[in-house]
């Protein structure tokens, strides 16, 4: 990204003033080191300044260090909107509603897994549906699916697919209030009902990782987050609400486009279609989006349950003996009603985060009791080559509505990556580095090559230098399944 139009506020924060473009109600702010900003695509500037035009937006439109261009909002985009006078925009949430990451800790050590990685990954690959056209793990009646939309991960708890401890470690307890299945189209039902407990494809993955002592940067907080010994095996699950969430977004994007003239709303990009939060359309989308958030929570929970089963089979021990515990489950693509300080007053805001992670600091009452002293665990998923980061939320992220990065962020398009890499060669190369990969698509694997993404350490450093979150540990991949 060229720096024209950007004003450097601090080492990892740039601002675009409202004079940049007609119609901006607030300035835009982009987080990132000089290297991150230089590597960001130019379209981010255009898109984040378009976000500044949303009615009701407060303070700034933000872009996180892993930002890159998307549709309407950039990926990594954040907009906090006053719901009493402002709008809700499906483009600020994304198609894959509540795409997110769950991290599981185990008491298994690397030494116990060595020799079993292939077996473990092969078994996970055969037991967790991944790729296109795969049936879900469970059959749902319409009534069950309605119930799941309202209860989210708690639906799994009622039926023995979760432990109470899991539910406590999911954002919003794995269940968003205000979900109403009456706001869901028959098309969304049909797309979603057969996909529960599936990983999907694209950048979604399930990864076995190792936490190494020399890459734990805050031992006290790492312990709070379940990293208690060297070479500890962790499991990371990245997926979302599957076709269900995509259909909800598609349905309401079109409804909003039709409704905008009625409300006198005009935006420079159709993917920024919006409706007043308090309008019939706005409220219906909010309720439908909450259904999709809950479906994604349940999807990750079912996959986590299957991980427990597979580990138990491979190690011939119970999940309890293997110490498999949810560290945390974060959402990436949501709009949530939260209280933040605006001009010294506690204000209810609708915070849109698209490819961005909520990161509450220590003391926040919405955090589960076990994390109130340390702060919220934040999980930044990297590529299958680079590994991932575990961080903690900080009070200094207040100006960012307590938000941080969510992943590495792409720097290379899928077609460029496919020209540069071959899936089979990459799979072999990674095996040589001790990372065993099973994939439903070698071509899809090439598109997810590590070089197609930003340097995750630079993203993490930027987030830390900007005060958005603090790095606690780096996690290294040893096995991965991809759709």
């Amino acid at each position: 990204m060229q720096t024209a139009g950007l004003t450097k506020i601090s080492d990892c924060l740039y601002e675009i003033r409202t004079s940049f473009k007609k119609g901006m109600r607030v300035p835009a702010r982009i987080y990132g080191s000089d290297a991150i900003i230089a590597g960001m695509d130019e379209a981010v500037k255009e898109q984040i300044t378009n976000v500044c035009m949303l009615p009701g937006i407060q303070r700034y439109a933000l872009c996180m260090p892993d930002g890159h261009s998307g549709y309407g909002f950039p990926i990594g985009g954040v907009a906090a909107i006053d719901p009493s006078e402002g709008v809700i925009s499906p483009g600020g949430i994304g198609f894959d509603i509540n795409c997110g990451i769950r991290l599981l800790s185990t008491s298994v050590r690397l030494e116990e897994v060595e020799g079993n990685v292939t077996k473990l990954i092969d078994r996970l690959f055969s037991r967790i549906p991944a790729g296109v056209g795969k049936d879900g793990m469970l059959s749902f009646s319409k009534k069950d699916f309605d119930d799941a939309m309202v209860k989210g991960a708690r639906w799994a708890l009622e039926r023995g697919y979760a432990e109470k401890d899991d539910i406590d470690a999911i954002e919003d307890g794995g269940c968003m209030q205000g979900a109403d299945p009456k706001c869901i189209s028959s098309r969304a039902y049909e797309r979603g009902i057969g996909q529960m407990g599936t990983l999907g494809s694209g950048n979604h993955f399930l990864e076995i990782q190792v936490a190494k002592k020399e890459h734990v940067y805050d031992d006290t907080i790492a312990r709070e987050f379940g990293i208690v010994h060297d070479n500890q095996i962790m499991v990371m699950i990245h997926c979302g609400s599957r076709g269900f969430g995509h259909q909800v977004a598609t349905d309401y994007l079109q409804k909003f486009l039709s409704a905008m003239p009625k409300y006198g709303l005009k935006m420079p990009d159709r993917e920024l279609a919006c409706a007043p939060f308090d309008s019939k359309e706005g409220q219906e989308y909010y309720r439908a989006m909450n259904c999709a958030i809950n479906i994604a929570f349940l999807n990750r929970q079912l996959i986590a349950h299957r991980v427990r089963e597979v580990f138990a089979e491979v190690f011939n021990k119970s999940p309890r003996e293997l110490g498999i515990r949810t560290v945390y489950d974060v959402c990436h693509n949501t709009a949530k009603l939260e209280t933040h300080e605006i001009d010294g007053k506690e204000t209810r805001l609708l915070v849109h985060r698209k490819g961005a992670t909520r990161a509450f600091p220590a003391g926040e009452k919405e955090l589960p009791p076990r994390y109130r002293a340390a702060g919220q665990p934040v999980i930044i998923g990297g590529s299958m080559e680079s590994g991932s980061l575990l961080l903690v939320g900080l009070e200094s992220a207040k100006d960012a509505f307590y938000t941080t990065a969510h992943g590495s962020g792409r720097v290379m398009s899928r077609s460029q990556a496919k020209k540069q890499f071959r899936g089979d060669a990459l799979q072999k190369e990674l095996l040589g580095k001790g990372i065993y990969i099973r994939t439903a698509s070698l071509s899809g694997l090439a598109e997810e090559a590590g070089a197609a993404y930003k340097d995750i350490d630079e993203v993490g450093r930027s987030a830390e230098m900007a005060g958005l979150s603090k790095i606690i540990a780096r996690l290294f991949p040893i096995g991965n399944i991809k759709g």
Binding site: S69, Y71, G202, R270
Partner: protein, 145 residues
């Protein structure tokens, strides 16, 4: 005009953009469906349609007709586990917009036969266009993958 489709770089980093050229709107829909199949399948030659079914789409503009047609194919893939190609039809144009009365040829997704490159999860409005040219039509569409 050279008809067909090509992948467009530079319009999206995380997803796939396609430009389609055709002599008629019917051909445009057929080419767009073929582009989608080629993006999805590593072995599109394994598309063996077993059935035909009706497809009726209405839209206020040509580009929204293209959008809704492709969205229907995404829906069929996920909800009915069907891959589809356009198999003919007519497009009526009136003051209210465009109406497709057509037929698609469908093949059930078969893990033993079909090898997938990627999934197409949604059709987006990002950069969506469909313009009449002196010698045909040019459209652009971005698929969320």
């Amino acid at each position: 005009m050279n008809t067909g489709f090509e992948i467009v770089d530079g319009l999206t980093s995380a997803d796939i953009a396609v430009r389609i050229c055709a002599h008629s709107i019917e051909e445009l829909l057929a080419t767009a469906a073929f582009a989608m199949l080629k993006i999805l399948l590593a072995n599109p030659e394994e598309f063996n349609p077993e059935l035909k079914q009706r497809i009726d789409i209405e839209a206020e503009s040509m580009e929204m007709l293209l959008y809704r047609f492709l969205d229907e194919l995404v829906f069929l893939k996920d909800a009915r586990k069907l891959l589809a190609l356009f198999d003919g039809g007519t497009i009526e144009h009136s003051v209210e917009g465009y109406a497709l009365r057509g037929v698609i040829a469908v093949d059930s997704i078969d893990a033993a036969r079909h090898r997938f490159n990627v999934d197409i999860k949604a059709v987006t409005l990002h950069g969506l266009s469909c313009r009449k040219q002196p010698d045909g039509y040019i459209a652009q569409v971005v698929f969320d993958v």
